[in-house]
């Protein structure tokens, strides 16, 4: 009971902080809030104050997930008419989904993918093309975004399976650069100007109308947040089930020692294909929703630099750690958008941060916990 109270208190604090940061307008206030956040983070690390929180969150996983879900709902309702804050919140949720997908590839199976933004873009462009030309229900369009991204990934499967490490990295980098230049020179997909999307609809729901139900009035972004939140919950459920099951153990084995895995009779190629495809599917669905929400997509949104931002999120959060990447996504997305001075410098800043992380704290902000399949969780 006491440990649940600690977890609830901690979540309340974080929620309040996120709410303050999202609604803060003046750059001075935002700078002060960021400084407070950094100070709190350093203090927490130094004093080990977060130990009991981490233990209680770790031992009540369901409860913690419920708390996180409730926190997002509370923030969204508290900011219900602030379009920009809600847009940012949705963007954070969508990128969390995409990074969860990337995490299956990178963090579990060890399949490097430096084209995350490209598969995100495949999902987005699929949504744009399907929404304008076919009369598919839009929920199916989201799924189609994931399926096309997974299919696009199969092009890279053969070269990735035949190579490893640096060589596989080169292939995905080449693909990321290829994809972006392809979009720019291809007129059918709008060239450098990109494509526009109509509003998203599910049944009778029109996503771009403002919400008003009796006394309650809110921004139309609330609907996108609802969909994004459902996607996050689904992706989280899938990824954590994967991690807890024998599948996760198998993927870890493939990542940590291919030779040992092979000598135990594991089919490495099959596991890598599965992880790469599942990951790309998740990234593609996130990309499709993102395209609907923004209503407009262009090659610039899917550059190699954006792919590196996704990878930075994974590394800063702690590779393989779902909670860590959620925290890192919030930092990496919100910071430059709220604190405009650093917007232009974001690629530089996060790349430098990753270099420092790798040199001095390779496990990331929230290291992936050891899996305990039997008995109580490790503290």
């Amino acid at each position: 009971m006491r440990s649940r109270a600690i977890a609830a208190l901690f979540t309340a604090l974080v929620t309040a902080y996120a709410w303050l940061l999202l609604r803060a307008e003046s750059q001075g206030a935002i700078a002060a809030l960021i400084l407070v956040g950094i100070a709190a983070g350093i203090l927490a690390m130094r004093t080990q104050l977060l130990r009991p929180v981490a233990r209680s969150l770790g031992s009540n996983e369901r409860f913690a997930q419920g708390l996180a879900f409730a926190a997002v709902v509370v923030i969204a309702l508290a900011l219900r008419d602030d379009d920009f804050a809600l847009l940012l919140l949705t963007r954070v949720l969508i990128v969390i989904v995409a990074c969860l997908g990337l995490n299956v590839q990178f963090g579990y199976a060890g399949v490097v993918n430096f084209a995350g933004a490209s598969f995100f873009g495949v999902g987005g462009y699929t949504a744009a093309v399907l929404a304008s030309s076919a009369r598919l229900p839009h929920l199916l369009v989201l799924l189609a975004g994931g399926v096309t991204a997974a299919l696009a990934g199969t092009v890279l499967l053969l070269p990735i399976l035949r190579t490893r490490g640096h060589y596989a990295a080169l292939i995905t980098i080449a693909f990321a650069l290829l994809f972006r230049t392809f979009l720019e020179v291809n007129d059918a997909l709008g060239g450098p100007q990109g494509l526009k999307l109509g509003e998203m609809r599910i049944g009778p729901l029109r996503f771009n109308d403002p919400i008003s139900a009796g006394p309650f009035e809110g921004s139309f972004y609330l609907r996108y947040i609802a969909v994004a939140l459902v996607l996050v919950a689904l992706a989280f459920a899938v990824v954590q089930r994967l991690d807890r099951s024998w599948v996760g153990v198998a993927l870890d084995t493939v990542r940590l020692d291919e030779i040992a895995a092979a000598s135990f009779g594991m089919d490495i190629a099959r596991w890598k294909i599965a992880a790469f495809t599942v990951g790309n599917f998740i990234i593609g669905v996130a990309g499709a929703l993102s395209a609907f929400m923004i209503g407009f997509i262009a090659p610039n949104n899917y550059s190699f630099a954006e792919s590196l931002i996704f990878v930075s999120i994974l590394l800063l959060g702690g590779i393989g750690s779902a909670w860590g990447l959620s925290l890192a996504t919030a930092i990496v997305i919100l910071l430059p958008e709220k604190f405009q001075i650093i917007q232009e410098y974001r690629f530089l800043m996060f790349a430098a941060l990753v270099v420092l992380t790798l040199l001095f704290r390779p496990v990331g902000l929230v290291p992936r916990p050891l899996r305990r399949l039997v008995g109580p969780p490790l503290s």
Binding site: R162, G165, H166, Y167, L177, L348, A351, L358
Partner: protein
């Protein structure tokens, strides 16, 4: 197609090949001494080209107009800056993560390259747009049956070849080269023989980066333009060329560079859509070649030890 057009394509391919080969030799040298891929190598190339451009801007602002002096300054500053950069990357980025998992080495060099690239974009005056690179070499030439053989191209090709030959001499004939080869073959034994491992690594990185700087300058002089992102293209293709020729193999890297340029040129001629999709085609070839021959055409240096 007339002979003069073919000659033009061949010339173009040769220039590309020289650039790729110079970059690929760097990859191969780094792989030799440390068994790692330096993913920021391409961005070091771009930094070299910008350093040359900066030297030209400063000198012309100071009133120097003699092309020979300017050229010398451009080349020397490009080489000096990149040699230093290469050594700094080796000392502070690569050596500290030497024992870490391969993935970390890959990420740390890739992100260091991003830092370099973004620094060029953000801090070089007007760096976010393509910058005009001065034509410092005589553009006149010989007319051979309709084909105009330009002096500047010949000079660039010959000097590139001389540089590669010089590097080859250093590696095979000098004491330093002996040390580099010893480290590449067996680091531990080399250390016990009294070779200063760290110094050899730093010097190798400086050497490889200086070669790449010349590729950056060739790129600038040939296209009369430099761009902060140019290193990405050169780096990816240079790496692919090094793999094609077999990593760790100096001759392989050169052959790989020219082979890749040949493929690209032939593709541009043979495929009607390839001119608009020039870069798409180049990256497609990279992916395809890796799928067909993941360990290169000449064969890998050693099989994996279990």
């Amino acid at each position: 197609m007339s002979a003069s057009v073919i000659a033009q394509y061949v010339m173009n391919g040769a220039m590309l090949g020289m650039m790729y080969a110079l970059v690929a030799v760097g990859f191969t040298l780094f792989f030799g001494v440390l068994d790692i891929i330096q993913f920021s190598h391409g961005d070091v190339v771009a930094a070299g080209a910008f350093a040359g451009l900066a030297a030209w801007t400063l000198l012309t602002a100071a009133g120097v107009a003699a092309p020979a002096v300017l050229l010398l300054a451009v080349v020397l500053s490009a080489i000096a800056v990149t040699a230093l950069l290469g050594a700094v990357v080796a000392r502070f980025i690569v050596l500290p993560v030497k024992g870490a998992p391969q993935l970390n080495v890959l990420l740390v060099t890739l992100m260091a390259g991003t830092v370099l690239r973004e620094c060029l974009r953000l801090f070089y005056p007007g760096g976010s747009q393509p910058k005009l690179f001065p034509a410092l070499l005589p553009t006149s030439g010989w007319d051979i049956g309709g084909f105009h053989l330009r002096f500047d191209n010949v000079i660039l090709l010959v000097s590139g070849a001389l540089l590669i030959a010089g590097t080859h001499l250093i590696i095979t004939r000098s004491r330093l080269g002996l040390a580099i080869r010893a480290v590449a073959q067996d680091e531990e034994t080399a250390r016990t023989m009294g070779i200063d491992f760290r110094r050899v690594v730093l010097v190798t990185f400086a050497l490889g980066s200086a070669l790449a700087a010349f590729a950056g300058v060739i790129d600038g002089l040939y296209y009369n333009e430099v761009f902060f992102g140019m290193g990405l293209l050169l780096g990816v293709i240079g790496f692919a060329a090094a793999i094609l020729g077999g990593l760790g193999n100096l001759y392989g890297a050169i052959v790989g560079g020219f082979l890749f340029a040949a493929l690209q040129t032939i593709g541009a001629v043979a495929l009607p859509f390839a001119s608009a999709y020039k870069d798409v085609f180049a990256f497609g070839v990279v992916i395809l070649l890796m799928a067909i021959r993941p360990t290169g055409l000449i064969g890998e240096r050693a099989s994996e030890r279990v």
